[in-house]
Amino acid sequence: MEELANLFHGFAVALQPYNIMLMIVGITLGVIIGVLPGLGGANGVAILLPLTFSMPPTSAIIMLSCIYWGALFGGAITSILFNIPGEPWSVATTFDGYPMAQQGKPGEALTAAFTSSFVGALFAVIMITLVAPLVAGFALRFGPAEKFAVYFLAFCSFVGLSKEPPFKTIAAMMMGFALAAVGLDSITGQLRLTFGVTELLNGFDFLIAVIGLFGIGEILLTMEEGLAFRGGNASINLRVVLQTWRELPAYWMTSLRSCLIGCWMGVTPAGATPASFMSYGIAKRLSRRGNNFGKGEIEGVIAPETAAHAAGTAALLPMLSLGVPGSPTAAVLLGGLLIWGLQPGPMLFVEQKEFVWGLIASMYLGNLAGLIVVLTCVPIFAAILRVPFSIIAPLILVLCAIGAYSVHNSTFDVMLMLVFGVLGYLLKKCNYPLAPLVLAIVLGDKAEEAFRQSLLGSQGSLGVFFSNGLVSTIMALGLVALFWSAIQDGYSRLRTSMA
């Protein structure tokens, strides 16, 4: 059991006092980020990434991933107490969480949400512990063609699985690839698409894009609704927590199912948001009390929260083992790896054991710490929400500007951030998905490199992507994912015509 020894070594790393402190700081910041409108997991991590430039990589990733867990926890607070989802993946939590709070059971709803989040995350971390080394070991044998096939699969599942129109997904994704291509071509060393603008020599940094698209864009969207805000009150006491915990085991089937849905949706880059909706929908259909869903059913809180947290955590599996992030936030973390001088992908498990296992161990500890922090500090976080948006908004905008500036110490980047912000607002309003755009900016260069290297090996024949069983299988899966909605359409049409 070499993995077990590695994991224990990882715990030793994560349990160093400095790292524990960063863990708590990260969780607290993360919950605040999750609670505040306009600051989400992805751009929260992006803004704080420059703070970690001077830290050792292991400590840096522990802090940043804990921000991510915190944000996952925090989204539930606003959904349940104020019917305002702090994060897109907690929209489904509002359906039953808010009615529960209205009926005078906010403590139960919050406890159920936090506990389910923890269960979902724990399930996903155990899966990562067991599966990630295997996947990484397997992926070590990948050549350029297989690598490209994995990217192909990742991007195709976006098109097939996202709820946005497929051609909008493709347009957004391809814009990301185009932005990634700007600047120095890594293979020939030639400049391209810069049109003589010196600021574009190094291309577009995805951190700027993330801060603009998600941060500024979100603020502009929130402004549409105006500045009015109704506050609410909440507290959790130990009695309510224990009582809710006694109720929860009865819903083990829902939890398990939601864990599996979450892990699956997290590994394929569909992400936490569709996972939470899917899990809620299935729970509603299968539950004996399905008719009560939407009126304050505790199962309707458990299902989406478990799935969202499982998906959010599972998104790190492909990032660690293949170098393909499963969500925008995982993409930002992957960008962090590059900045700290680590090469994401299967080699991490061979060359950077301490980093990988320290991170995995911190996932166990971070989620436990997160559960404790949110259960004990809910009133404080709810109070943050009562700070009016006209104070929060300028502070967030200033933070975004600081984050964008400190990536390269460049004020040009701050302007770029604003442009991305307006773009993000418009794209969001027109129903273009932002996640594939960001992922394409992060992975564009790597995908292109794999593509060109494969073609070099085959003298330009596309047959290289179907040259052996492995690569053909991945490519075929990708094509299925690409046409998934069309296949579903055809199938249901076939069934109706048969009936």
Partner: protein
């Protein structure tokens, strides 16, 4: 082109959808143009720099054409946002643009102070005391956290120079 539905009025969603598809399509054309300039065929050492982006650009143009077609086909008469909402958005966007543009000249701290103060005083309607407390407090905290604790330098202007920071 404006459409009215009920009491709300504002630019039609269709117009914006249309404009977005055109804009993205134009971006695709720029990418194709740039790729062709960089060379899209095979050179001595394999595919040249414009090879991959060329197909990316082509895909953008193709997808935008379909989005354009879809946009003009289904018109549900929705408005994009009513004028009041757009005014709200602009009331944030315009000062943010000024804030960002002034940063290279006056530095981040002074620009942030003015920006926060403006926001709170005019959009939030706070008392001067609260406004000034937050507007001055935030940059000070930022300075301590970023420059002192995490050693991340932020842009400074004449004011910081005068203070000798």
């Amino acid at each position: 082109m404006t459409e009215r539905s009920g009491s709300e009025s504002g630019p039609a969603h269709k117009t914006l959808e249309f404009g977005m598809a055109l804009l993205i399509g134009a971006f695709g054309l720029v990418v194709i143009f740039g790729s062709v300039k960089a060379g899209i065929n095979w050179g001595a050492e394999g595919p040249r720099a414009g090879f991959f982006p060329f197909y990316v650009g082509a895909a953008i143009v193709g997808a935008s054409a379909i989005n354009l077609w879809n946009a003009q086909r289904d018109d549900d008469g929705r408005v994009f946002a009513d004028w009041g909402q757009l005014r709200q958005v602009m009331s944030v966007l315009v000062p943010t643009a000024i804030y960002v543009a002034s940063m290279p000249f006056v530095g981040l701290y002074v620009a942030s102070t003015v920006f926060i103060a403006w926001f709170m005083r005019w959009l939030g309607g706070y008392r001067w005391l609260t406004t000034i407390a937050v507007a001055v407090g935030m940059p000070v905290v930022t300075y301590l956290v970023f420059e002192r604790w995490f050693l991340v330098p932020l842009p400074k202007g004449p004011f910081e120079e005068w203070l000798g920071l």
